[in-house]
């Protein structure tokens, strides 16, 4: 098919008169059975490069894409044009997915979008074998490479599949961000017949700015002040989950419609927030990097980072979510040179578990054919660490995954090579180098967009004309006593909420007096608990009571209970007694342990923590609980499993309401 004929079809099917030259270059190659890696910025029209061939090829085109929201939008718009498109994903009902699979098998679809993790789903694997497949598309192809910003182990199987397909079978890999190194890695993995085609990366409508600050308070002040001037909606990216909570509350305090988003939220809440954001019900979402892959909103006007990203690719990818509709947008990075490198460095250090932990997992998978959760319990490591280790072991061929039905088992390879730890050192060195590139970016005097594009493999010597350097405008944070006072007031009245509500128990969300690591509360608790300094000091009591009043107002409780201690003697009992006396509620010592528990902190994974406390609590006089509202007190809230276990137990005894009140919640939490 020549370009002229293709453009007639294009007009008929999609309503566009012409292809961009680069689009046609890609399409032409695909139609003649070639394999292409297409690196082109967001908003260019990469999708047309596979959507159009999909309508022309005999059979169904499979698009692997990790972005469910993006899938949804593209499918809808193609269906509107009468193109036979559908998506299979975990958000849909089983029947709906099965229906789509059947249509694909009957050759009734031109294009099917699926999530990469489907390649690990036995049902899909067997279903796909019955399809007549015309072309494979790998969206977000940078996920193939560990040198990319978001390596995903489940892309490995797509790569394997592509390698095993006939060479004359068209394959398109697309990404908006790939450094030359990532590009080479993708080609090395997929095969040398993958032809790279690279577009320009310059995002001419995004103005880049760096603001240097001296403290967290300055970040809050500057953020608060700039909100009046910035067009909305926008996203504020933070480095930690606790910071999403603090910054979102700070913006709310200033009267801005905002909310926190992070990996700690349950899937329903996340979906609700995403949808509200799409519908412009929030002006600002404050999020960790958990938000992004699932969101495709074209009118985001600013992206502010309160924490320096790990690498220029991360940064380009994250701010790239702004201004997709072509309107002017801002990308602002707040940077505190004194402390801000600690977090990414810790992340780089901690991204690979120790050698000893790898060996622990290896001996576990040698002992029996196990699934992931069984491995986690067997080795007592954090879920995330076990997942990283298993992915690495699979990557190096030490174990193989076997999927049957919905379960995945890890099969040790009897001919396993020794695990190669030297790969980690290389990876670490590369990550450190990328972080130093980010520091270079912060300290830049020349065009910021030009610097990033060049680093990402685009042609050098850009001049965007709209970054702070090009405009000759360094942004500084002037002192502002009014705002400083506001921040102080806010912090004094900010208390972390404990989200423990579920439909199964009568637990309600509770409150903590502070985050453990953020104020001096943590060290005060530590001194008393482990340093033998006696009861918790009165100022902790006062702050806890203020948290109580802010959260519960004048609400009253029938009974105060406290979590029976594992190792800290009467500290919590005495503290709960003082709270109860001050508030004027009766207190009971009746909640006890039926069997001893280990301190939760020795267990690394949520699964083991849950097991440690399951069924361990008892309250003799059931009649004292039935129909009562209960205030449940503890010193530290970490994973929340203890509170949830007691909440469930008391619910079963007939308690009407159980509200947790603690002195501090940890920053990281489990998982």
């Amino acid at each position: 098919m020549n370009r002229q004929l293709a453009e007639i079809q294009l007009k008929k099917l999609f309503g566009f008169p012409h292809f961009h030259d680069l689009q046609w270059q890609v399409i032409d190659k695909l139609l003649s059975g070639m394999r292409v890696l297409f690196i082109e910025k967001t908003g260019f029209g990469k999708s047309l490069c596979f959507q159009f061939p999909a309508t022309q090829l005999d059979g169904v085109t499979i698009v692997f894409s990790p972005l469910i929201a993006l899938m949804r939008d593209q499918v809808r718009s193609m269906q509107d044009k009468g193109i036979r498109a559908a998506a299979i994903n975990s958000n849909q009902e089983r029947d709906e997915n099965n229906n789509i699979i059947e249509q694909a098998q009957n050759n009734e679809l031109d294009i099917v979008y699926i999530a990469p993790e489907r390649m690990e789903n036995a049902e899909w694997i067997s279903a796909s074998k019955e399809m007549k497949i015309a072309m494979i598309v790998i969206d977000e192809a940078h996920c193939i490479s560990i040198w990319g910003q978001s390596f995903r182990p489940n892309y490995r199987r797509i790569v394997n599949l592509v390698k095993l397909l006939p060479k004359t079978f068209p394959v398109l890999a697309t990404t908006a961000t790939a450094t030359p190194r990532v590009e080479q890695d993708i080609i090395d993995q997929v095969g040398s017949d993958l032809v790279p085609i690279r577009g320009r990366l310059l995002r001419s409508n995004i103005g880049l700015t760096v603001v240097k600050v001296q403290s967290q308070a300055e970040k809050m002040i500057w953020l608060g002040k700039v909100m009046d001037h910035l067009p909305k909606p926008g996203i504020v990216y933070t480095g930690t989950q606790a910071d999403t909570d603090i910054f979102a509350n700070w913006l709310q305090f200033l009267g801005i419609k905002s909310t926190a988003y992070n990996g700690r939220l349950d899937p329903e809440s996340r979906k609700r927030i995403e949808e509200s954001f799409m519908a412009n019900e929030y002006e600002v979402i404050v999020s960790t990097n958990a938000l992004g892959m699932g969101i495709d909103k074209s009118d985001i006007r600013f992206i502010i980072h309160t924490q320096i990203p790990q690498s220029p690719i991360h940064y380009y990818q994250e701010f790239g979510r702004a201004g997709r509709n072509g309107e002017k947008a801002h990308a602002i990075l707040l940077y505190n040179p004194h402390v801000d490198l600690e977090l990414p460095r810790a992340f780089i250090e901690g991204s690979k578990p120790s050698r000893e932990k790898y060996n622990r997992v290896i001996s576990a998978v040698k002992s029996a054919l196990m699934g992931r959760n069984e491995v986690i319990k067997a080795v007592n490591l954090k879920q995330t660490q076990v997942s990283v280790i298993l992915a690495d072991l699979v990557d190096q061929g030490v174990v193989n995954e076997q999927v049957r039905g919905s379960s995945k088992k890890y099969f040790y390879n009897p001919q396993a090579p020794d695990f190669d730890f030297t790969k980690f050192n290389k990876l670490r060195a590369a990550q450190e180098q990328e972080l130093s590139k980010m520091v270079e970016y912060v300290n830049l005097d020349s065009c910021r967009m030009g610097f990033l594009c060049e680093y990402l493999g685009d042609e050098p010597a850009h001049y965007c004309g709209i970054c702070d350097n090009d405009r000759g405008k360094k942004v500084i944070v002037p002192s502002d006593p009014v705002f400083e006072e506001k921040v102080k007031t806010f912090l004094e009245n900010f208390f972390p909420v404990l989200e423990v509500e579920t439909s199964k128990s009568n637990l309600v969300n509770g409150i903590a007096a502070s985050y453990y690591g953020v104020s001096n509360v943590g060290s005060a608790i530590k001194h008393c608990k482990y340093g033998g300094r006696g009861d918790f000091p009165d100022w902790l009591l006062r702050q806890t009571l203020r948290a109580y009043r802010k959260h519960f107002g004048s609400e009253t409780f029938d009974l105060v209970l406290y979590v029976p201690p594992t190792e800290s003697g009467d500290l919590v009992r005495n503290f709960a007694g003082k709270v109860a006396r001050t508030l004027g509620f009766p207190i009971s010592d009746g909640l006890v342990k039926s069997r001893p528990t280990e301190p939760q902190k020795i267990f690394e994974s949520g699964l083991s923590k849950k097991d440690n406390v399951a069924g361990k609590f008892r309250f003799e006089k059931h009649e004292e609980i039935k129909g009562k509202s209960i205030l449940l007190i503890d010193d530290i809230f970490d994973s929340g499993y203890t509170i949830k276990e007691i909440g469930q137990y008391l619910t079963n005894l007939g308690a009407e309401k159980i509200a947790p009140l603690v002195i501090a919640r940890t920053v990281g939490g489990d998982i």
Binding site: I125, S126, S128, K129, E130, M131, K132, I133, R157, N160, L161, K163, L164, L165, P166, K167, T168, F169, G191, K366, A368, L369, G397, V399, N400, E401, Q402, V403, R404, F411, Y412, N413, P414, Q415
Partner: protein, 383 residues
Amino acid sequence: MKEAAEYTYWIAIAHLPKWTTDRINRLIVQIVHDKKMSLEEFFNLNAQGWTEIFSLTAKEIADLEFTKKDLPRLAFIAEQLQSEGFDLIPLNSPEYPTELKENLKVKSSPPLLYVKGRKGLLKEDAVAIVGSRKAGQKALDFTDHVAKKSVKESKVIVSGFAKGVDKQALDSTLEANGKSIIVLPQGILTFQSGFKKYYQPIINGDVLVLSTFFPKAGWDVGLAMARNAYIYGLAKEIYVAESDSKGGTWEGAMDGLKRKRSVYVRFPEKKEKNANLSLINLGGIAVDDWGEKIQDQSPANEIKKNGIDESISSDQEELTLEQKILAFLTKGPFTAKEITIGLKLDWDTKKVTTFLKKNPNVKMIEGKPTKFSRTDATTLTLF
């Protein structure tokens, strides 16, 4: 296999629908050996290329066209196999067991092996212990003894993962810390419960699971019969614990005898109702309950005592006749007449010709006059 990309094509060619193993293997030899092509290059040819280079028939080309369209689907299966750590060993791989190739020849060597476990086991001396699913205690004890004896001699025990003798062979081997090859009567992807049960011995390198069938094929009586040949083929020595006068064990043993394999048959007690004695009469080597050769046993006398009819003994004669002919053919190809004269046979030339045509170890060379040669003598280096 060095080139993982070839996996898909090997699966395609190994299971060409309704093609005989012989035909498939000859085509593979032609592609890989004669034309020095990769399977990928072969599949990239069109009908014209297949006709011109490989002289394929229209029917064969239609089959290949069909399979070619099926390649993406086979790629998914290849990917699953690879991802789940199964190894594919094609006919031309140095990892392909020599014993199997020598025993089954082009005619019936499976073109592609699917395995899980330590592949090194395929290179070690192997003993097959075979017998009925409903074997009696005598046979099971015999199996136990032979398995443990073979383990002591550092031999690998091959069995078929059926009830009775097969299961006993595997369990006794593992009990004695020996090594075993399980030859599946099904596709390797349908063996999940077995992988769970024998996980430890597999990952320790003591058990290798092997299948020759399409990976997703479920258990089937036809496959179970077919796999017996592979069990015999993998082993240097074959021990028959208990055989009926028909069925897989019998046919496998007969096949082995025809191929002049060492088939050791447990000498049965008088009251036993099985065909062990018939096998011994047909050339099986009688062994006692411990698998030791019975030295002073004259099978013929014993048979006469037991009243087995003598018609079988003509088979016996043929076996030795075959040996004579094969030995003669090692000198080169000859016509039927030359063989008759050379060996001073009291058959007429026509009977010799018929005999030669039926024999799997003898190959006919077209031409005038028609000559015969040994299959293995002219077998290409692939074999």
